[in-house]
């Protein structure tokens, strides 16, 4: 990996604001973005990327690489939790292992957005419909995670805690973030197909500088949140911290390798790798909290938000990019 790539990634406004947030906690400034403002940013980003994904999907329907990419993405979101589960079982019980594993099978939309910004500032083209795989990777990993609990949980789990498949489907498909993302994708698709006029009117809202600005703001907040998670990592132990750094690298490599088979070009390949490497802090934690209360929330949240997210934002993206450059070209 060329260090210049890392530097070029770090010197984009979103990543710089992420550092500003990190540092504010380190020097104990009282900078704070009070609730529900982060929720506003998060809702907006999900709506915007969903909508954009939808109309790009409409335009990309004829693209040969679309369908294989989606299938590969879903396959990865099914496979990664199982791999992670096996590794995590070395140290953790079924509940914690399954919850953490599900988070790594799923994705982080903001990591994806940051990767897109990186590609843009590098002038590397990519396809907008890569949002479709993103939108379809949340649910499968939740299903696998909860399925693992259902199958592997100790037999003496009390009756009240038996998970029903109905419940699993509900949690995986109707979680607010997943629902908004998929819903906006469908709306974008329908609008592109039937109302080009309406599309023109809403496109600048979902793509223009407002998106970039909100991305910066949200990363500022994520910097604060990530830094606040760090002290709680001590509890988690070094095994988990190592896991949170090595697994994204492993998954990112896997992603690059698969992207090569898909012949989707270097831009899309980076995005695919980032989807594999990133871990969810929206849908999955919520679903796990509801159905697997035995798992410690601080484990699956501190690792994804406190380690994997910053790692990917700062080092992961340029790392996977240089992998893509060396493997694909």
């Amino acid at each position: 990996m060329e260090t210049s790539l890392v530097l070029q990634n770090v010197l984009t406004p979103p990543v710089l604001f992420f550092f500003l947030g990190l540092i504010s906690v380190a020097v104990s400034s009282d900078l704070e973005i009070p609730a529900p403002l982060p929720k506003l940013f998060s809702l907006y980003l999900l709506l915007a990327i969903g909508f954009r994904g939808g109309f790009e999907l409409q335009g990309g329907l004829n693209n040969q690489a679309l369908f294989p990419s989606i299938v590969a993405a879903i396959a990865m979101s099914l496979a990664i939790p199982i791999i992670c589960f096996i590794i995590l079982r070395l140290k953790f019980d079924v509940f914690n292992s399954a919850a953490i594993a599900a988070a790594y099978g799923s994705i982080s939309a903001v990591t994806f957005i940051t990767a897109e910004s990186f590609l843009k500032s590098q002038g590397i083209p990519f396809d907008g419909w890569m949002v479709a795989p993103l939108a379809l990777m949340e649910s499968p990993s939740i299903i696998v995670g909860l399925g693992l609990v259902k199958l592997c949980a100790p037999k003496n789990r009390p009756n009240t805690r038996i998970i029903k498949w109905r419940r699993i489907l509900h949690e995986s498909m109707l979680n607010g973030s997943v629902y908004l993302l998929l819903g906006s994708l469908i709306i974008g698709f329908l609008t592109a197909a039937h109302n080009p006029n309406g599309l023109e009117k809403i496109k600048p809202f979902t793509e223009g500088y407002l998106f970039y600005g909100v991305e910066c703001f949200f990363l500022l907040d994520m910097g604060i949140v990530a830094a606040q998670r760090l002290p709680r990592l001590k509890q988690a132990g070094s095994f988990l911290i190592l896991f949170a750094v090595l697994i994204p690298i492993l998954n990112g490599c896997l992603g690059v390798f698969i992207a090569k088979q898909l012949l989707i070009g270097p831009g899309n390949a980076l995005l695919f790798a980032v989807l594999c490497a990133s871990a969810s802090y929206l849908a999955v934690p919520t679903a796990m909290r509801m159905t697997v209360p035995e798992a410690k929330a601080s484990y699956y949240i501190s690792t994804t938000l406190g380690v994997t997210f910053p790692f990917n934002i700062v080092f992961g993206i340029p790392l996977y990019m240089s992998l893509v450059n060396n493997v694909l070209i």
Binding site: A35, P38, T160, R232, T286, P293, A297, I301
Partner: protein
Amino acid sequence: MKRLDLIISERELDTIISALEKAEVPGYTVLKHATGRGPQTIVSEDMEFTGLGANAHVIVFCEGDILEKVKNHIGSTLSYYGGVAYVSDATEL
């Protein structure tokens, strides 16, 4: 009259409210966006955006005999998801 203070996760609020209604409380008040620490978890404001939600503080003023019913209805939720419930005396102004 008694005063019941319930502190639970916002995610279980609907379940708890239904339980209170089943126990036929005369009314209740909910304060959301509470944070805190219990024997099991720390709940902080900065995680609200993820959908995990913060805590809710539920206050019920009711007769003592209703409290037994409340206990029966909310017990399993509390033991499954955590949360605390305390009772004090109160009189109408």
